[in-house]
Subunit: 229 residues, 2 copies
DNA sequence: TTGTTAATGTGATAACTATCACGATAGCCG
DNA sequence: CGGCTATCGTGATAGTTATCACATTAACAA
């Protein structure tokens, strides 16, 4: 493995997360050792791709044998920083926010929901099925700072997404996961990830209309012009 | 624009979806015409990238002027197949499923939720805030076929994701959006998109531990080996 | 100890994607 | 109506990511 600050492909990081899942499943199925081929089969990634991805971070396997299932999962977690606890806050306890609060997977992966916020007085203070307390939105900055939350999750309507992001930054979070459909801007030193559910569906729609659609999108040289300006 | 069956980058399709959003916002702000620079500013994509993306499908702008805001949004929708109605079913009316059913954005983008399914008798038949009816899961294949649903959304627990996918395929859907954390397998002729919320968070965790972490991940040549096999 | 086998780790190569730079052109104004 | 300006559309180029092919090596058996 190389020592220089090699740039890791973003796609590699995405895959690492899925490897963990597959490894845990394979482990549960009784595989103490997995080959890149078996793991690849399991998570639909080519064996070569898996080996390459891992090679960016070190050597985790035994030639001629494979990878220790539990060990590899452990190592990948360390790579992704999932061996630490990430204090997290969530803003906007609507349907989606509620869903995320109850998503047990988070806790298992090292994320600790330390607080939630909403501007609906009916929801304030009430504890959900989890032990997370919902605070009024006015306390966002204060509590986020107090709890030293590193990550903020935005599940508010599009119209207030940017303002929410600003407050989270003010509260000192270092990363934001935004589920609102419009992208938000944050300072250099804060990392933002936008999850657009609609985009995913639109992507599907495109693939479907291409494969199963009646006619081609662009058959002629015809140009679609905007109305005269 | 070229006529041959050029391969469109997947990334381009993803961006097109976000362009629609930005265009609608800009339109609401009163911009009847937008330049690639303004649009780029708005959705955080380089102007050249936008022009390139659009050039795969035709010429939509006016040199020296820009793009007609409304027109461009319309054209992109046509490209993505959002000018048609996509009958959609949802399986698993838990928190997340509930959230998606109530997501008005879907309807606005051409997706019509024609039915939902759940195996909890308490939820069956009850209408949610929307006009979607929740059926017992046993009727999935039948109703999906009846309604000619093209898209299926999976929001069931990981353990039953694969079985749900199988039934959706049996019911005749052409595309599946899977929110369960484990990937599912489908036949060649069905398109699958996996949305992994945990992966997104893990990605964030990685970036944060790299930027703000105490120490580097791989400082020495040390190799992490699995326990002797 | 030495040969055999299986599966890793990785340099080289191919494929894909984004960026750049500039030619083309519509609109405007005098 | 001709020159000027703004902005598009796109071929060429640079950068990034995935695939391939094989040398390497741990385990095991005779």
């Amino acid at each position: 493995m190389k020592q220089k600050e090699i740039k890791i492909p973003e796609a590699t990081i995405k895959r690492l997360s899925t490897y963990i899942n597959c490894l845990e499943r394979l482990d549960a199925e009784g595989f103490q050792v997995v080959s890149s081929e078996l793991l690849g089969e399991s998570c639909q990634v080519s064996p070569a791709q898996i080996r390459k991805d891992l090679s960016y971070f070190g050597e985790f396997g035994v030639r001629g044998v494979g990878y220790g299932t539990k060990n590899l999962a452990e190592q990948i977690k360390k790579i992704l920083g999932l061996d630490k606890i990430w204090p997290t806050v969530l803003v906007g306890v609507g349907h989606l926010g509620h869903a995320l609060l109850n998503f047990t997977f988070f806790r298992e992966h090292g994320y600790r929901m330390v607080a939630a916020f909403d501007n609906d007085p009916g929801k304030i203070g009430r504890e959900v099925t989890t032990d997370v307390i919902i605070h009024p939105i006015e306390k966002l900055v204060e509590i986020t700072r107090e709890e030293r939350a590193a990550i903020g999750i935005i599940t508010v309507p599009a119209s207030s997404a940017q303002e929410t992001a600003d407050r989270l930054v003010e509260g000192g979070v270092k990363g934001i996961l935004n589920f609102a459909p419009n992208k938000v801007k944050v300072p250099e030193n804060v990392t933002i990830r936008n999850v657009s559910i609609v985009s995913e569906l639109d992507n599907l729609a495109y693939l479907l209309s291409k494969k199963h659609g009646r006619r081609r999108l662009t058959r002629k040289k015809t140009i679609s012009r905007p109305p005269k300006l």
